[in-house]
Symmetry: C2
Subunit: 329 residues, 2 copies
């Protein structure tokens, strides 16, 4: 996998800050003194990059912008508490009609997750929303962990709906409000909280960029820029959980982009996690009631890169997922 | 004073969030559960709005972008601990030459203030840096307070240098690196910490938008959108502390824009505070060693708006300070 442009920016700041920290989107700091016992995460939503612009559903855009930030808290099992919003708007008058439903959607997502708005900022610039979310009670072990050969790889629920819906939306096959999975995702907070209670869970990440891209990040562990090979994965493409919605779109339309979206599309906000030293049945028993579609999709292997039980039916390309520097949504 | 466009955005989000919170740039939440005992602030720096673009001093732009966020912590006497950075970059390759010194400047300011980078985000979009800073040990009373008629209004040090330097920079009278006050401000952390130890300090804010604009915000107290008149101020323009640099530029050039900049220009990051029930001499004694230029510039009056001991020598306009929706720097 070639270096993503994004990582060059991360690297520049990492070097400047002499490795005292990390800008990685998916990285949550376990031990920030000012947020002891808590986790804090920042995520950005840029018009035209994180949702279509002009925006057919401003309320949904506001909801999903906040929920994307909350999703990182879900992956560490934290309980969301506080949110700060930094908004950049080019022209308040011209954007007001968009802003009102957008803010209502953001507020709806925040209320849904129990977040209280505690601060923020407004400035002039291209439309961007930077959401800071803080949570408490994350499990001390929670994080990317250290993947080891033999760990089983699990996905908590159906993948591909958001990406398939976005595709249908852009093709005009869905009404602006119709793409419910795309506009109104839900962070898997209760699943994340339950996961980290299990001693056999040794790593987790939320699926935001695409499950393969996020899995690769999980396999790289705490240091995305670290030299030295991360372990790889052996995967069964047919084991990935799919919803009936996705199956239907795939069987009816046979649209290869829909199929591909399920592999490289993100924003379903399910979780990928690693289990160690436990039988599959025990995992299914433990999670069956809160994540009925949870499925083992493969295991960690010492050999870097990806191996496939069966060849995936679609060309994956090199990126394996959303790259902010590779086209628009 | 007419409503600033910025406040309309704040109002939209405030309404959407049903008054559970506030987006006000200058507002720090005292009691965010996840940051108990601490304060958290977010501030944005947009290329072309918060520093000139193309940027003649990327290192300085990075420094001042972080320091602006830290300055809010200074106004509540907090000790900075952690920083998160959310960066939006349109094109990594094209911006790399700018990004490296910018990141170094940001890291320099963070290190200078004892901040550790604990997280962040990178995305594609117009160049923006959103800095989240957290601090601890803010005094429980620290904040805007409630201004009352008779409170004295103080400024901790010289005002106008940053704005005068920016003007000279844009006129080509200063080298790109020459504008030290503009590029390399320092948050008044130790002054803020000392201030709140004094029982007679009843409100404080940092000077970022311009001392009159920030004073008006301080007088409005905790609720910038509250209806009902805030108290006003009686001010002596000649009492405002000025540096020799400013005096020199004013006496040599007689540039009315330099004079105006001292009134409406911000980003000196001195503090304005209110004292109650204390003699001026006691204030000067208490702060003389750490803020030798501290000066009383007037007092709070019941009558809304501003009254002047002597008419200011320059037309102030209506904005009294930096408004993100009013021209560029």
């Amino acid at each position: 996998m070639t270096a993503r442009s994004e990582y060059r920016v991360i690297e520049i700041f990492r070097n400047a800050f002499a490795e005292t920290g990390c800008l990685d989107n998916a990285q949550l700091e376990a031990d920030a003194p000012a947020v002891r016992g808590g986790r804090i995460n920042i995520d950005a939503a840029v018009a035209g990059a994180h949702f279509p612009w002009p925006c057919p559903n401003p309320h949904g855009a506001g909801w999903r912008s906040v929920m994307a930030a909350v999703s990182d808290l879900a992956s560490v099992g934290a309980v969301p508490t506080d949110i700060l919003l930094s908004v950049s708007v080019p022209d308040v008058e011209r954007y007001e009609k968009f802003l009102r439903p957008f803010a209502a959607g953001a507020a709806g997502a925040a209320a849904h997750c129990g977040l209280k708005l505690v601060g923020g900022n407004v400035t002039r610039g291209d439309f961007q929303l930077h959401s800071v979310v803080a949570g408490r009670n994350a499990h001390p072990r929670a994080g990317f962990g250290d993947a080891r050969p033999g760990d089983r790889i699990w996905i908590t629920g159906p993948i591909g709906d958001a990406a398939a819906e976005l595709r249908a939306l852009l093709l005009g096959e869905l009404s602006p409000d119709g793409a419910r999975h795309y506009w109104y995702p839900e962070a898997r907070l209760s699943i994340g909280q339950a996961l980290w209670e299990m001693a056999w869970v040794v790593g987790a990440i939320d699926i935001s960029d695409g499950w393969i891209a996020d899995l690769l990040r999980l396999l790289r562990g705490q240091a995305p820029q670290a030299s030295g090979a991360a372990p790889g994965a052996w995967l069964d493409p047919d084991a990935v959980p799919r919803s009936s919605l996705y199956q239907e779109r795939w069987s009816v339309h046979q649209d290869p982009e829909v199929r591909r979206a399920a592999f490289v599309g993100g924003e379903d906000y399910e979780l990928i996690f690693l289990s160690r030293d436990v039988h599959q049945g025990a995992v299914l028993d433990a999670l069956g009631s809160i994540a009925p579609n949870v499925a083992c999709v493969g295991f960690v292997q010492a050999k870097p890169g990806l191996g496939w039980e069966r060849p995936p039916e679609v060309a994956l390309g090199s990126g394996f997922g959303y790259d902010p520097y590779d086209g628009s949504p």
